[in-house]
Amino acid sequence: MTLTAIPTKPWAKSSSDRVRDLVFAILSMAITYLIVAVTPMKGKLAYAILLFFSYAAITGGYSFVTRGAPAAKDAVVKSLVAIGAVFTILPIASIIFTVLKNGLPGIHLSLFTTDMSLATPTDPIATGGLLHAITGTLTMVILALIMSVPIGILTALYLTEINGKFSGPIRFLVQAMSGVPSIVAGLFILSAVLYPITKAYSGLMGSLALTILMIPTIARTSEEVLRLIPNDLREAGTALGGTQWRTVAMIVLPAARSGLMTAVILGIARIAGETAPILLLTGGGDKVNPNAFNGPMGSLPYYIWKSFNAGSPEALTRAWAGLLVLMLLVLVLFVLARALSTRKVSK
């Protein structure tokens, strides 16, 4: 008969600890319920606040009795930070829930095959659709990508590969640029391009403003990705006689490929729902317009905005359905970016 030592984990919760935690939770709920029933305080807010206070008081009191004042403080802070996390998550849960609840009734098949040229937002939901908005958003995003991806990646390359004397200021300016309000970007394109040159709303104007908003996101994420590429690779390229250009183009960029994709996708997620410059610049037509250089162009944010402001219940359902589509788009992009970024250095 052999004796095997069973390792103990003194920090792990024992079953009596678990029972105690459960009792505390139930106790605080009971106290909350009692106070709400007895005193004139009413409503969800009262429940939430009282639950928090009673739980903090019970755990704090217990710790004070068993382990003294510092432990009591620790217990109170523990419930405090937990409530902070709950307050952070609560809004997003509420947003996703309401958008799903209100948006799903407005989703139907013809939403993706028809546009709004023959319907107004106040018509029954079955008529008209989102086609013009989806194609418009896609066109503008693609145009913005064509302009912002080269600039963003070149900026990141300057910061990582050349790292010249302007690196500090440029990093600072890219940070500053990411804080430019979207409406200011819209006003800038309005004053610099739309009024003096084209004098008409078009999808191109919108995508120019989106480019400005997208460059900093792409530049900053790409910079982080390029920094993760091991220096050995660059040195190997140089040792084989490659010029810096060949090293960057043939070794560094391919190695960072999936990370750069992440940067681009995060950039798209940043601008897909951008509303303010779209309202100023695109004119928001109701018809599918494949030409971004001529004529007003619809987009998802504009469609949502227009339906939301039309006011009738049908229009509101349209707005929620549009929001649902937009939210799903952002969610898919985000999940895609996450999946790609888990393997930042590939091949």
Partner: protein
Amino acid sequence: MSSTTLAPSPREISTEPRRSDKVFRGVVTGGGLSSLVILGLIALFLAYRGYEVLRQEGIGFITKAEWAITTDDAGNVLESHFGLSAMLVGTILCSFVAVVIALPVSVFSALFLNFYAPEWMKRILVTIIDMMAAFPSILFGIWGFLVLMPSVEYWGKLINKYMGWIPLFEVKPYFFTRSPFIAGVVLAIMIIPIITSISREIFAQAPLDRIQAAFALGATRWAMIKAVVIPHGRSGVIGGAMLGLGRAMGETVAVYTVLNIVFQINWHVLLGAGGNVASLIILKFGEASPYEIKALMAAGLVLFLLTLIVNALANLIVKTTGKSGR
């Protein structure tokens, strides 16, 4: 018969970059300077378009609260008064309310993520919070208007009932709908992910040896946080809060949907009359005459400079703490 062997001339060794490299470096540097060019152009064009209005109004553009324009039938401007003060006060009020609400929540949740949450929960929560930062502002705006506003209005009434003796919370006339407080709460929800992720990164840089030393000396978790993490991360968190402030100041659509814009300076947070520079631009843009557009451009310039300054200060603070790590 002569056999002369041609000795190969030695290759010249130089550190001079090849032409391809020169081109490459030129192109990359050009791309890198684009952010400078774009920011410069923004300031230049907005100043150029708004110059006429700025010159006419002078300092009154920032200190006066009136926004009115009268034109004759032909569209000529007869009289115009453009002043941004009510909007500026409103912008500052909304974004300060947002930061005051968001800062404690974000710091607590960052502490929770770093020092309390188990690893699996941390991973999920971080993903959700990052995702929230990428959500479009129109989503927050419409959700805030239809879902959040009734509750926040009720909270506003509660605050007024019990703390109305503080001048800031005074409400006269008794009107709570679409107040700066509601806009501030919506903005707070939008900037919580930003401040949380910055605080989380700063807290994660707290020196591990000191954390372990604190635990070894018998500190509780809170005592460790108070002694090590907070002194280390304090100024970084302030920088993060200022980044959130900058974001809140420039936010347009979300504020516009929940704020009642009134051209009168109002410091009372709960009263349903506020102002916001960005929302003003959206509000007036639709029916603005060419001259009023110029005034809006000038307003855009003011907003641009304001956010630029706040952001620059914030980045400076975050950067210096990231490096020093006392």
